[in-house]
Symmetry: C2
Subunit: 213 residues, 2 copies
């Protein structure tokens, strides 16, 4: 949170810290996540965020017309990009990397904020936020798993025909189920168990293909 000046943008009122553009936006997004995680959505206010980000309420309303819009924007900005599909050269390593990354995303600060939102809001109000998670986290994960498995088919590590939509859904399904049932206890979501007890057994080649498990 360093003070920055010089970037030309709409004339700002006097604020405790004079930052413009990205630096200010980052501070605001960070304040949104913190307030969500600490107080929840209902108790979060534009004033509280402005104060935590050391800016004025007017600066917030100039960019975001509502709390919902501000939160949506903060989530979009804070969800880390999915990154390139892992390519360790072996199926197990690739799968472990994808599952570990998803787990890290779910238990990151933004992941925790999303879980607070999902727990606090009804389905209709949660929808706008859930969409961001689906688009930025879940869909890239299932696409990556599909890609990793298809490479496994080419290497003979995966049974041809094993890669179905249900199989690529296994990781988010198990992860979300365990998080829901265990109240967000990260210990109960073990990437190695997901890979070794479920994913690898599901896709391993048929015995007749002369491949081991």
């Amino acid at each position: 949170m360093t003070a920055e000046t010089g970037t030309v943008r709409a004339a700002a009122p006097t604020t405790p810290l004079r930052r413009r553009g990205e630096a200010l936006e980052n501070a605001i997004h960070e304040a949104v996540l913190q307030q969500l995680t600490t107080d929840g959505y209902a108790r979060m206010t534009m004033e509280g965020v402005a104060s935590a980000a050391q800016t004025g309420k007017a600066a917030l309303y100039r960019r975001w017309s509502s709390k919902e819009e501000l939160v949506r924007d903060a989530l979009r900005a804070s969800v880390p990009p999915a990154g390139p599909t892992p390519d360790t050269g072996a199926l197990r390593g690739d799968l472990l990397e994808v599952v570990t990354r998803l787990r890290a995303a779910m238990f990151s600060e933004v992941g925790t904020a999303v879980r607070v939102l999902m727990g606090e809001l009804d389905q209709r109000r949660a929808h706008a936020f859930l969409e961001i998670v689906l688009e930025r986290v879940v869909e890239p994960t299932t696409a990556m798993i599909g890609e990793v498995l298809e490479r496994g088919v080419a290497r003979g590590e995966v049974r041809p025909g094993a890669v179905t939509p249900l199989v690529t859904d296994l990781v988010p399904a198990l992860m979300l189920y365990r998080i829901k049932m265990c109240g967000g206890d990260a210990e109960r979501v073990d990437p190695q168990a997901i890979v070794d007890e479920v994913l690898l057994p599901v896709v391993r080649p048929n015995p007749s293909a002369g491949q081991g498990s």
Copy 2:
């Protein structure tokens, strides 16, 4: 909804239909599920339920002190018992039966009412209802899958060591994920696909054990 008389219970005020005990309770529970499915929890009222069950509001308040208590009781009474663990003599038939039963429960009238509740309420308020589903539907299902798989181990159809908590969680996890992602479209939850693409491959014996897939 037949009228019944004769059962002795607390003196009832004059009501359009004079029923006592179980018959009246069934009519009330049925009215609760219908109101939930049609109007949702927020718009459901004790008056509306009483009127649909052709009884008086006083009769409801004599048994249930609040809407939440009434709904909890209606769910508990309406969730069908899990029934005995299927025993068709073969793993695939048993698994298919368990998964098909769970799907039927989820898309039954009471299952639909529960999905309405889960969609409408935040996590804290949904908790009391979710617990009933876990205790009456989810836990019996995972226990049954465990039992069916253990029998499969004894018959040589299941790899010893394959039956882990993560594996018995697969069915509810996939079912809930698909229902959530597909907005309650029953077509998107295919018991055969769950059994043939996921469960059977996960547990099939190792090639070295001399078993086919």
